[in-house]
Amino acid sequence: MTTSPLARGLQKGIETTWILAKAIVPAYLAVYFLAKTPVLEAISRMAEPLLGLVGLPGEAALPLVLGMVVSLYTGIGALAPLDLGAKEATIIAVILSVAHNLPVETAVTRQMGVSVWFALAVRLGLAAALAFIMHLVWRV
């Protein structure tokens, strides 16, 4: 840590932006192309009943799945093109911030000697519970 905090911050910020860009651009393209095929619609229809429980439309399935499985950045990239209200965006943000990058991060907690199932149950359970509570409490 010999460099100044300003230089370190700039470097970290640019690195993060680069990671974001690499994840966001492909996610955007995927959403745009999937939107023109029946795939997105099929996924949305399947996810609709489940997502409806927490007040989300079926189309929220894609950013949620991408965020949980691939990375938070990819999830955000797939979320940005969707036209959602503040409540829906916030509920998705809560779910994704609690449960993202699951394969990688669960491997990390496993290194601490914590069971994979425990880590997954905590994250997915908490995400679902918080989303459900927000949906109940937040009346627009």
Partner: protein, 182 residues
């Protein structure tokens, strides 16, 4: 779809993705600079010292305070790099590793993760409050359950003295974590 349509879709998607990336850059870069200044001024170290009495309420020893603060603020694998380190040196019990995971797995890198959602119109204070509040509540419940199940007899994972709380452990885990910021 035809070629023209495909080209339009790519152009449209690329343009919007570009705007999103630039918006994120405008938020993320100044934030990172601010976080680095806070670290330079040792705000996080002082924070972890302040946290030490609080973590006992979660059934954690003071040794867990610094890994906890590091994970919450800087990211999961950075924090767990410290936790794994502490666990190997026998300063953390198995129960403490589980308590830390219950808290940190859902709630880490709280500034970076939260700010990523701001360009999408999400209120960062609300998001952070819900996320941190939920993780804390869950951890308190689990800590209480485990405490009563295991009895108060669990030794506080004592080794001689704690890590000097100033410098974070540097290892492959912490270095890579800083880069990828999980």
């Amino acid at each position: 779809m035809g070629w023209a349509e495909a080209a339009t879709a790519i152009w449209q998607a690329g343009k919007e993705a570009g705007v999103t990336v630039l918006t994120m850059a405008a938020i993320v870069i100044p934030l990172m600079v601010a976080v680095e200044f806070l670290r330079e001024w040792r705000v996080f170290d002082r924070l972890s010292a302040r946290l030490a009495p609080g973590v006992s309420r979660l059934g954690l020893s003071g040794h867990a305070a610094f890994p906890l603060a590091a994970g919450a603020v800087l990211g999961l694998s950075y924090g767990s790099g410290l936790i794994i380190d502490s666990a190997r040196e026998g300063r953390l019990t198995r129960r403490e590793a589980y308590v830390l995971t219950a808290l940190l797995a859902p709630c880490h890198a709280i500034f970076e993760d939260t700010l990523l959602f701001v360009p999408l119109g999400v209120n960062p204070f609300l998001l952070l409050a819900v996320r941190a509040g939920g993780a804390l509540a869950l951890t308190l419940v689990l800590a209480r359950l485990w405490q009563s199940a295991a009895g108060p007899g669990i030794p506080p994972a004592g080794g001689p003295g704690g890590r000097a709380s100033g410098e974070p452990a540097s290892g492959p885990a912490s270095r890579s974590a800083r880069r990828t910021s999980l």
